[in-house]
């Protein structure tokens, strides 16, 4: 195999037989019909969520009908007023800042660590790799308090550092492991060829490996964004001032079992909080398709 891969031309994925191009391809139609049918069932709960965000309070929980009796837009106006004097825009900006920082941190630090684990030789690599995998196995509730003490001692409680800094230090072994697996799918000849041309590990990493692991990096970016966005727990523990709150925190504050809950606005806020991650996913998912096949490599 050579280091040069076909550029630009996307081969027929799955390799469909050539003869069936023109006429109606029935298996293909069946595939679409099946996929659409599955989707209707799958998206039903989301339709429910959307419909509920427009239900009057009485129907939010008690009614088992999908459609509201009338559209209750006040759920949205209440949600858009924000919480505790903090506007919904401020909450949105805070969420974006945290999720954006986390994406940057994870993509950068996890790919660096992954490259070392996948391609470089160093002492204790086996035990360190095992340790890294083991860190995913301990339930995070068990380390919550020690971690809190550390961040408290660093004077970082009630700042965004406890939410962002760990991502720059590759603490999410999930992504390191993910990128390792992708890098190991790349033939070693790629760098061998580069090495002969006098290319060191840093140039190999940035110019050869990184572009080729783009699907994994995009995956990391997408998951980090969504998971950080939805990570209620960490945000709850580390953020104190309402003006630093996020959308995810704010929507939960509509629900308090000990007093009167506002489920209508909570659902409305859920829909509002969903929009940015939908947009993020839509914007980035198209990069998933451009993998090795189209991003040609020239040694």
């Amino acid at each position: 195999m050579t280091a040069v891969l076909p550029t630009g031309t996307t081969p027929p994925a799955g390799g469909s037989p050539a003869g069936a191009r023109r006429s109606v391809h029935w298996p293909r139609v069946a595939l679409h019909a099946g996929a659409l049918a599955v989707l209707v069932v799958m998206l039903y709960p989301l339709a429910w969520l959307l419909a509920t965000s427009l239900k009057p309070a009485k129907e939010v929980i008690a009614s088992l009908d999908l459609l509201p009796s009338h559209l209750e837009w006040s759920n949205y106006t209440t949600a858009l007023d924000g919480v505790n004097g903090v506007s919904v825009w401020q909450l949105l900006a805070n969420s974006l800042l945290i999720a954006g920082g986390a994406v940057l941190g994870n993509v950068l630090s996890c790919s660096l660590a992954a490259y070392a684990f996948a391609r470089l030789r160093f002492r204790f690599r086996g035990p360190l790799f095992a340790f890294m995998i083991a860190t995913i196995m301990l339930p995070h509730h068990a380390v919550l308090i020690p971690q809190y003490i550390i961040f408290n001692q660093l004077g970082m409680v009630n700042t965004y550092w406890p939410l962002i800094l760990p991502k720059f230090l590759a603490t999410e072994a999930f992504f390191v492991f993910l990128i390792v697996q992708f890098m190991r799918g790349l033939p070693r000849e790629l760098e061998e060829a580069a090495r002969i041309d006098g290319c060191g590990p840093f140039r190999s990493f940035f110019q050869i490996i990184l572009p080729l692991t783009r699907p994994a990096l995009i995956t990391t970016a997408i998951f980090t964004f969504i998971w950080t966005w939805n990570d209620f727990f960490t945000q709850l523990i580390y953020l104190f001032s309402p003006e630093k709150f996020t959308l995810t925190l704010a929507l939960r504050s509509f629900v308090d079992a000990s007093s009167q809950s506002a489920f209508g606005p909570m659902f409305a806020m859920s829909v509002i909080a969903l929009l940015p991650i939908v947009l993020f996913f839509l914007a980035f998912q198209r990069f998933l398709v451009e993998g090795m096949a189209s991003s040609g490599v020239k040694g």
Binding site: S16, P45, T52, F117, V278
Partner: protein
């Protein structure tokens, strides 16, 4: 510690390409540069808290008073005096066995089907991922309970009665929530499929290989590192299942403890009952159990996972 027993496949690097001495040393230095953020994070933010929790697992720490050393008491109590602990082990194992294969099978099937589609790929990919955008949030918990309650959509359509409020059925409702959110493994499968060089398929098509044959002899082997990744990670995550349980029981683990998953009970012991020492012990037992399962997976992986960076297979 059994965790270090995990056979590490990448350790077999450099086979067939013995590095020259000078280059090797330089690479060793380079490796530590690449690793430096991870080393800092792993030691301060991971290893240290883990060490503390290991220590606490031998104490009676209650979050408010200083911990006292109690030796193995937490561990013996867990294994011999706590029937609810064993119930939580039982429900967790049931869940792992149901949810993981189902979710992975669905994710792989959809990913492969999507790959072979020529139109509407982006639309389907987004639509199938949509449920996973929500995570197991409070709103999705309420929706799930409404749909799977008695008189809810599922009961009306299938006449099964409520799911979330009956032992046995509740587990299915939780597992379905997990399967429903198959977006993450699906995207990882898709990314893996994209990495397979198209020329392999071209060559196979020239040789007249059927699609089934192409799937078995190109797609699966080339995808195996990613399949392995998903299998390991989804299993680990399934052992730690926490948030989906809120969808059914509001985090109480009902009905009749049937969805009292391991980490849910751990949380209950640690943060509700303030027995943080006991909860830490539970966490370490879980780590060892998952470690053992993962070690087995790594060991068997040698026979079915194909890495392009290894030669001479």
């Amino acid at each position: 510690m059994t965790t270090t027993d995990i056979p590490v496949t990448p350790a077999r690097e450099g086979r067939g390409t013995p590095p020259k001495k000078r280059g090797g040393r330089r690479r060793e230095g380079a490796a530590w540069v690449f690793l430096s953020p991870w080393v800092l994070g792993a030691s301060v933010l991971t290893l240290l808290p883990m060490a503390v929790s290991l220590y606490l697992s031998f104490t009676d720490y209650d979050m408010f008073d200083p911990p006292h050393w109690v030796g193995l008491r937490n561990y013996t109590q867990m294994f011999t005096e706590d029937p609810r602990y064993w119930r939580s082990v039982g429900s967790t194992l049931t869940y792992v066995v149901i949810a993981v294969p189902l979710q992975l099978a669905v994710a792989l099937a959809v990913a492969v089907a999507l790959k072979s589609m020529r139109r509407g790929k982006a639309f389907y990919r987004s639509a199938f991922y949509a449920p996973s955008l929500l995570g197991a949030s409070m709103s999705i918990a309420l929706v799930w309970r409404a749909i799977f309650n008695d008189g809810g959509t599922v009961d009306n359509l299938l006449g099964t009665g409520g799911w979330v409020n009956r032992p046995g059925w509740a587990m299915l409702a939780v597992a379905l929530l997990t399967v429903w959110q198959f977006g993450a493994p699906m995207v990882i499968f898709l990314a893996g499929l994209q990495q397979i060089p198209g020329e392999l398929y071209e060559a196979a098509a020239v040789d007249g290989a059927s699609r089934r044959r192409q799937f078995l002899s190109i797609t699966l082997p080339m995808l195996s590192p990613v399949v392995f990744f998903n299998l390991v990670l989804q299993t680990i995550q399934a052992f730690q299942v926490f948030t989906p349980a809120f969808a059914v029981s509001g985090g109480k683990g009902g009905p009749a403890d049937s969805t009292l998953f391991y980490t849910l009970y751990l949380y209950d012991r640690g943060f509700v009952a303030s027995h943080m020492g006991y909860a830490s012990a539970m966490a370490w037992v879980l780590l060892l159990a998952i470690g053992a399962v993962t070690a087995v997976m790594f060991r068997t992986s040698r026979s079915w996972v194909f890495y392009a960076d290894e030669e001479g297979r």
